[in-house]
Amino acid sequence: MVFPVRLALRHILASKTRNGLTILAITIAVFLLCFLLAVVKGIDAGVRSASATRLVTQSAVSLFVSLPMSYQPKIDAVDGVALSSEFRWFGGYYQDPSNFFPQFAVNQNRFLEMYEKDIEIIEGPDGITGPGARAAVQKALNSDRRAAIIGVGLKDEEKYSFKVGDTVPIVPAIYQRADGGSWEFIIVGIFRPLKERIPDQVMYFRSDYLNTSIESGEAIGDIAAGVYYINIDSGDIGDVVASTIDEEFLNGPQRTQTITEAAFASFFVSAIGNLPLFLGTIGGAVLFSIFFSVVNAMLIAGRQRLKESGILQALGFTPLTSTFLLIFEGLMVALIGGALGLSLAVGTEGLVQDLFGANIRNYKIDSNLMLLALATSSALGITAGLSAGIPFLGYRPTEALRSMG
């Protein structure tokens, strides 16, 4: 079949308003698709990056009920447990409630070992970097009960600009100090997360600082562990270890529920509603409605081309030529719109990260998303072109020539 390329290109340029508006609609749809999917992928990345050899033990009643500190030796004694650490939500803020970042009280002797593959210490005390930084930070953590390590995002973000050696006051939201003041933490190390689920604006500090302060009356609250993070010897024994731990505390002061780290991460995603499904539905709905408007635009184009189909057949072209002309036009319009939408999504990637970085972590328009956007645009254009072009095949040349289109 001979395809008149020049005619196809002229058609695209001839209908500037219609095709321009269609391109604009597809641009917006593809941008939204990329944006929403990048958000969903970012959320999923946290779940997917969870360790296969890590469990989380929490209260069977609620995540917001803390487990006792006394559970740790019993957890450590379970076969298959390599290392465990308490993990307690602190929930304070720096100077102003708008300057919120997560803080966790952890076991200073175990945390760095437990997170060996999860974080990379990039700076320790006295400017130390490189392989010796982790040991130096561990030493510093052990030497001062106020010691804390922070993610690199708290160093880079202008409003914090924390550095090693800084004393950072954190206003408590849960564990009030008896004097009504702030908690003070001394930064002894800065790390870079190696897993997507770990934010880069987070602080880990010694749980004994919190517990001894409560014990001595300097602060108000309960001495507790929060939840326990547990490294196990192998991912294959996760189910057995989890059920052994939960059986151990079946009759304890708090019944426990032990789940994988991935399931624990998923809980937070589902806690804000099924966000991926919600965003996916919005994206799908936008795409679906744009699809119909593109089909409608192509159907209008098709109606206007029926006579042209008759003329082309009289000249010796096959009826398929007109169908392919519409498919080509649909494809080109959709691809131009798709490429513009994709460019917009890529171009605003930095802006989105700057504006929503803390809320939309791991936002990235990656190559898979680019391919998906272009494939979706192509499918949209081809389907729209087919919808408009297939009816041509049912007309006889004389009928097509008699039409007004």
Binding site: R10, G316, R396, L401
Partner: protein, 233 residues
């Protein structure tokens, strides 16, 4: 003009169904057109003139009877082969010109040439030549909307002859034109027939156009009622 029959219709019947009623447009029509003839078809609306053109051009098929062009049975040709056959043997000229408005005059003429095995440069030469024949070389880059009706029809003729077909089928080629433009078109058709040997089958209501043909066929209710050859032709 050769004595060899080029277009032949044998007992051709064509019916259409309109509003549940069957309308016989051609009723067992017999017609022979020698190679190089210039035939005008006249008759009232619905007499079957355009249907004959459509059948000869392979745009439609008869209900019964045979339609052959250059010894090829057109009606029996597989649908998939008809377009290529049309491109090789038939050039169409329509009353309303039917140029593609998004293309220039030159591009319109180039369009059917894409169906030939000619190279791009050969196609360009052929299109230039076709436009020269109709006297529109200087309007090659104009869009149809920038041309007068007469010029548009001349471009349509250039497009019809670009592939050097044997037969020109013209459906009221002067119907939408003023007298002066119509005369120009008739002169061109006359030259195509007399100088280039094209067989022309033309439907017309215009007595002047009919007078320019060598042979005048009159139809009524699907049958041939008169067959006259112009004196001196």
């Amino acid at each position: 003009m050769s004595e060899k029959t080029y277009i032949q219709l044998d007992g051709v019947t064509k019916k259409y169904s309109r509003g549940g009623e069957e309308l016989v447009v051609l009723d067992a029509l017999d017609l022979k057109v020698p190679e190089g003839d210039y035939v005008a078809l006249m008759g009232p609306s619905g007499s079957g003139k355009t249907t004959i053109l459509n059948l000869v051009g392979g745009l439609d098929v008869p209900d019964s009877g045979k339609v052959s062009v250059a010894d090829t049975e057109v009606a029996n040709m597989p649908k998939s082969q008809l377009p290529a056959w049309r491109a090789r043997h038939v050039g169409f000229v329509f009353q309303s010109f039917n140029l593609l408005p998004v293309l220039t005059a030159h591009e319109n003429v180039m369009l059917p040439l894409q169906l030939t095995p000619l190279s791009k440069s050969e196609r360009k030469i052929q299109a230039d030549f076709a436009l020269e024949i109709v006297g529109l070389s200087d309007r090659a880059s104009h869009r149809p909307s920038q041309l007068s009706g007469g010029q548009e029809q001349r471009v349509a003729i250039a497009r019809a002859i670009a592939t050097d077909p044997d037969v020109i089928i013209a459906d009221e080629p002067t119907g939408d034109l003023d007298r002066s433009s119509a005369d120009e078109i008739l002169q061109i058709l006359d030259r195509l027939n007399s100088e280039m040997g094209k067989t022309i089958l033309m439907v017309t209501h215009d007595p002047a156009a009919a007078a320019s043909a060598r042979r005048l066929l009159k139809l009524d209710k699907g049958t041939l009622v008169s067959d006259q050859t112009r004196e001196g032709a």
